[in-house]
Symmetry: C2
Subunit: 353 residues, 2 copies
DNA sequence: TTGAAAGCGATACCAG
DNA sequence: CTGGTATCGCTTTCAA
C-alpha cells in the first residue's frame, strides 16, 4: 500500500479564477453586521428578514438584505443563535460500537427519527469503556445538546452521573429502573426465552448459549431468558459461553464449543454479530448449519438476513425504538418514563425450519 | 410486538432520595456567574481557575472556586466558549449510509482519529440524496464545525457548494481534482484492476462486474479499473450490472446474473455489502462459491471476512485514510492537498484460492 | 417600519 | 493577585 501526495497548489496557483477572492483564501465567515452594512440597514432588520419576524420589514429593505446575504454567502452562526435561544437542535448519541450492525442500524434509525425535528446527531462510541463513556457524557453536556441517548454497558450503579446532567437523558437497551432517567428497553428476557423455546420446539434437549461479556447488562438479561425457557421445560442449563459482542467473539465461541467432547447441536447466540461469527467459524470447521448446529440469535439486523445461511433471529423493532427514544427526548421535563418493547422471531434457515 | 409504558413517577415520587435537589427537578445549567457568586469571587477568577490561566490565582480562592464548581455541578458552556474562542472542537462527517459496513468502519476510524485531538464528530447520512447532502453541508457550516469530511456521491460539478463554505473540507472516497478542495481518495481504478486480474490469473476468461449506481462516482472508477484489466488481457467486457450499494443490491444483481442463459463463473463486485448479498443469493439459488462462482470484491471490511465463505476483497486501508483525513482537516489554511491511497488484496476462499 | 441596546455565557485585556 | 469590562454573533424588547 502506498500513498502519493500531490500538492494541489501547483496546478491551481496560477489560475485562481474559481474562488471569488483569490485561490484558497478561506475568509472568516461574514457576520450579520457585515450583511447589515452591505444592505445599508441595521443589524436588527437583518434578523427580521432572516427569521421572518418578529417585526415586519418593508419590501425594499427585505430585498436588499436578501441580496446582501446571497452576495456574502452569509450563514447565521448556530452557536450564537443557540446561546441566545437556549437550544442547540442537536442530540447526543453514545453507542458502544458503531460498526456493530445492530448499533449501526439503530443509530441510523435515530438519525432518521431526529431529522424531521431539525435535530442533528452527535455520535460517540465507547467500546464499552466506562471512562470513554464518562468523557462523552461530559462533552455532550458541555455542548448543551438538547437531549442525550445513551446506550450504556455499565451497571446500574455507575449510571448515576447521567442523572445530574441538566440534559434530558434516555437510556436505551437496558433498564436501570431505580434511577430517575427515562429508559426505553428491549424485552431481553422474553426475547431470549422465545428464541430458546423455538429451538426446543424443534426437539433439541440441550441448548447452549453464547453470551456477551459478563460486565454488560443486556448480556445477563438474555442469559436469564434462555435459562428461564430451559427450566420451564425442565431441562438443565449448560454454562453459557461469554465472549465479546463482535464477529471475532462469535468465532471464538464457536471454536470453544466445537472443541468439546460433546459439541452442541443447538445454540442461542445473544447477538447477530456474534451469530455471524459462529456461522463463519462453523463453516470453516466443516460443520453445516442447521444440520450440525441449529442456531437462533437476537437483534434482527439486516446483516443476519444476509448471512449464509440466513440467521433466524429475534428481531428488535429498531425503528420503533428509535422513534420512541426521540419522542421521549422531545418530551423534556416530564417525569421519567420506562418503555419496554418486545420483539418477534424472524425465521430463516439457521434454526432448521 | 407490543410496547408497555410505565410512568416512572408512580414508583419514585414518594422516595425522592437519589437526586440532590428533589426528584426529577431538571435545573437549568449553572453559569460561571453562579460559581463566582457562591465562591465569593469575581467571574474572571473563575475563568482563571478553570483554564489555569492566564493569570495566577491565590490558593485560597482557587480552592473556594473548585468547591463551588463541584457543589453546583458546573460545566462551562461549550457554545459560549466556542463563540469567544473561535473553535468548536467538532468536525462534521457526511456519509451516504452509516449501516454500510465500509462507512461504519470508516466513521469509527475517523472518530478514533479525531478523539485524541479533542474533536467530536457530528455525523449525518445522506442516502445518496443530493438534497440531504446539501442540507447537512449547510447545517454543519452554520454550526461552524472546525472541519468537514464529506463522502459525496455527487458528480464533481455539484460539489462546488462545498468550496464556499468557510470551513475546511476534505472529500473522501473520490477525487474532484479540479476543485480547490482537499481530497483523500482510494485508488479505485487500480484496485478494481487488481481484483479483476486476480480472477484472470485463476484462468477465468469472462469476468463480470457488479457495479454501484450509475450516478455514484466511485462506481464508475471501479468499472474503469475492471475494464482496463480485461482489455489489457485482450478480453471483451460484458455489460456491468448496476445495483445499489446494499445487501439487497447484491442479491438483485446475483439473481439477474444467474437468470442469464450463460451465467457467469467469475465476478468482481464493487463493494463488500453487495458481495455479501451476492453470496447470500447464490447460496439460496443452490450455487456454490467459489466452485460455481468465483468472487472478489472491494472494500476490505470485517463483514467480508466473516461472510461464508470468506470474501476475497481489495482492502482499503481504512485507518490510514481516516488518519489522513483528520490530519488534513487540522492543517487548515494550507493549500488543498490530494492524496491517493492504494489497497491490497486480502485473499480468502471466495475467489477459489 | 426601524434601530439601539440588553442580554445569552464565556475569555482575556487592562487597570487597579 | 484581583476584578471590571469589551467582545464573540445573534434575538428581541423597547423606544422612536
Amino acid at each position: 500500500m502506498t500513498a502519493s501526495v500531490h500538492d494541489g497548489g501547483d496546478d491551481e496557483g496560477a489560475a485562481g479564477t474559481a474562488a471569488p477572492s483569490g485561490p484558497f483564501v478561506r475568509r472568516a465567515s461574514p457576520t450579520r453586521d457585515d450583511v447589515a452594512r452591505l444592505a445599508g440597514v441595521s443589524p436588527a432588520v437583518v434578523s427580521y428578514v432572516l427569521n421572518d419576524g418578529p417585526k415586519p420589514v418593508s419590501a425594499g429593505k427585505r430585498e436588499r438584505v436578501e441580496e446582501a446575504v446571497a452576495a456574502l454567502g452569509y450563514r447565521p452562526d448556530a452557536r450564537a443563535r443557540s446561546l441566545r435561544l437556549g437550544r442547540t437542535h442537536a442530540i447526543g448519541l453514545i453507542v458502544p460500537d458503531a460498526a456493530n450492525p445492530f448499533f449501526a442500524e439503530l443509530a441510523q434509525a435515530i438519525e432518521r427519527a431526529a431529522a424531521p425535528h431539525g435535530l442533528a446527531v452527535l455520535m460517540g462510541t465507547t467500546a464499552d469503556d466506562p471512562a470513554k463513556e464518562a468523557k462523552y457524557l461530559e462533552d455532550l453536556a458541555e455542548r448543551r445538546v438538547d437531549g442525550l441517548i445513551l446506550i450504556s454497558s455499565r451497571s446500574d450503579q455507575d449510571l448515576s452521573p447521567a442523572t445530574t446532567l441538566a440534559v434530558p437523558v434516555v437510556v436505551m437497551d437496558r433498564t436501570p429502573d431505580d434511577l430517575p432517567i427515562s429508559t426505553i428497553a428491549f424485552d431481553n428476557v422474553g426475547g431470549a426465552a422465545i428464541a430458546t423455546r423455538h429451538l426446543l420446539e424443534h426437539g433439541h434437549r440441550t441448548v447452549h448459549f453464547v453470551a456477551g461479556p459478563r460486565e454488560v447488562a443486556v448480556s445477563g438479561r438474555r442469559i436469564d431468558g434462555w435459562r428461564a425457557a430451559l427450566e420451564e421445560a425442565g431441562l438443565p442449563t449448560p454454562r453459557p459461553t461469554h465472549t465479546p459482542f463482535t464477529y471475532e467473539g462469535g468465532r471464538t465461541a464457536a471454536r470453544q464449543l466445537f472443541a468439546r467432547r460433546h459439541p452442541p447441536a443447538a445454540v442461542v447466540v445473544s447477538s447477530d454479530v456474534q451469530a455471524i461469527g459462529v456461522v463463519s467459524a462453523s463453516a470453516e470447521l466443516g460443520l453445516r448449519i442447521p444440520d450440525d448446529l441449529a442456531l437462533v440469535s437476537v437483534d434482527g439486523t439486516r446483516a443476519a438476513a444476509f448471512a449464509n445461511p440466513g440467521i433466524t433471529t429475534l428481531s428488535q423493532p429498531i425503528e420503533q425504538m428509535a422513534t420512541q427514544a426521540v419522542t421521549t427526548i422531545l418530551a423534556r421535563g416530564g417525569d421519567p418514563v420506562h418503555v419496554v418493547i418486545c420483539g418477534a422471531l424472524t425465521i430463516r434457515r439457521s434454526c432448521g425450519c
